[in-house]
Symmetry: C2
Subunit: 359 residues, 2 copies
Amino acid sequence: MPDRVRIALDAMGGDHGALVILPGADLSLTRHPNTEFLLFGDRAVVEPLLDGLPRLKAKSTFVHTDVSIRMDDKPSQALRYGRWKSSMWLAIDAVKKGDADVAVSAGNTGALMAMARFNLKMMEGIERPAIAALWPTLKGESVVLDVGASIGADEAHLVNLAAMGSAMARVLFDIERPTVGLLNIGVEEVKGLEQVREAGRLLREGQFPHFDYQGFVEGDDIGKGVVDVVVTEGFAGNIALKTAEGTARQFGQYLRWAMGRTWMSRLGYLLARAAFQTLREKMDPRKSNGGVFLGLNGVVIKSHGGTDGEGFAAAIDMGYDMVRYELLGKIGQSMARDRLATATAKADEVAQQASGAVS
Amino acid sequence: MPDRVRIALDAMGGDHGALVILPGADLSLTRHPNTEFLLFGDRAVVEPLLDGLPRLKAKSTFVHTDVSIRMDDKPSQALRYGRWKSSMWLAIDAVKKGDADVAVSAGNTGALMAMARFNLKMMEGIERPAIAALWPTLKGESVVLDVGASIGADEAHLVNLAAMGSAMARVLFDIERPTVGLLNIGVEEVKGLEQVREAGRLLREGQFPHFDYQGFVEGDDIGKGVVDVVVTEGFAGNIALKTAEGTARQFGQYLRWAMGRTWMSRLGYLLARAAFQTLREKMDPRKSNGGVFLGLNGVVIKSHGGTDGEGFAAAIDMGYDMVRYELLGKIGQSMARDRLATATAKADEVAQQASGAVS
């Protein structure tokens, strides 16, 4: 376990930029005093804010850049004007150069992914990156991936997602062999997309020492915490994640309306205030803010663009945990062993077919 | 508006069969006394239950059949042993023959869809059926479709879904020109599946007098009630629906835990009991039970298989509304006019290209 964790921040990313990012970093620092920050951004914006946060300032190195990535640019545009010099690029580049252990940005997701791929490159054996989210469940938390890095997934990618997601679950939840489910629209074998069915077969028949494949799960199984890792293609995964966030907010709003309606309910609310506070924290989407980019040679965390300081601090905390528990090394190990397992299984299959042919 | 509504029930469908279906029908009858039921099922099961529900019995015609469809059979299997004679087939067939205005079943979704397509056939101009759900939102309710009738959707199917869904919204919400959004993973034009982008272009550029296309929406916009109709391909739509149901249950569980923790919170709960009751009703997935099969020459409603009497009554109520407000005729009108509009737009395009070519 490293004795300090060095975090590179794109101080200009997100809807509110440094106004949210620096207070978020300051908050995370109170929880993890062995953090050091590398801040990239515009001097005119960052320095005055940093002067107001002396604790953060003492643990930070600031690097000025004029260029920051706009939230609504296409990835190709962002790469054109932002490569080599934007705050987003420089934060990722600090990871590449070994100056930081993890980069965190609340900026444009497409641009962040494009720059991370371009600069850090994919891990061996992985063709496409993924974004993993931590999903609060009735049993604790689950890892859900992919929640939007790429659209569509063949069976090989879904199997890779299972391996990467279970490495992350092992790191975060301290479980030897996390359970994995494939998101589908019905638990019967007959249903679902061709690729999902085929991935189900590979996972069922293969030997995966790092995780325990449990079969298909449906949308309502995620919140029950039926498995530690939920594997899905990025389009459906993103829609599931945002739908759950929306439903949680909707429920919160109903609760506020209901509690404010009569003097009896208002009084009841006052008496049960501590309970409501617990509930609010449980359902607060900010607490599980932060998507982890997986499959790259380096750890990059994407925070929601519209989050506040509390939410950004949660994204930094997530980056901190990933470094502290050595996510990257563990994914590499899993991938190597699972590749070996798949290769062995295939060799067995070929050998069996061959012996069947001659018998 | 018809002066009576004739509803055909597959009395054997669902996890609990007639034990839930008959009490559900009895409950729905108290709300809509001008309903008449046609019940299909096994005499040995249905008749004793019906004897205990004299009000329902007085308004019902019972038809015996030995055959009922199992919950986990493949559609092809179900068709093989259940065509012409199962309770599910006979309920659909009553709609086909004009003996009933709508069929309701809590049975196997795949089998129900296969039998409905086989017997009722698709409406002119529609190649694939859809299942539409009513989704409770902060503003009221929205129609979301497709929630699982078919997997994958090209742009033409997505445009058809917009037309069918808006006809349903017009019927249910009494809005002249419902707003429509396409579910996507980001509101920027650059994101999302090719077919979703292309459907977005068709909807933006076309003339659709029956609805008002508003652009892309994300998962968290559904619960806000941003649009009256949310259009999506069936895989993602099913996952979104089930994820929302799961999150609502999760929130309910958190709330129960929180309220039971201390004597203060328990007292608060007692005082605010009426408010909690309102909340429970708002979030109760049973209240919005019932998926409407769209695109067929007849109305078929699918209830959740695991629902109780209250939930099944909600599915019957939905069927009742569809008949009362003449859903089928309105979809037909929309489709015809929208087809005309699309054809005219295409003709204009061709004419313009032709005039461009000669100028």
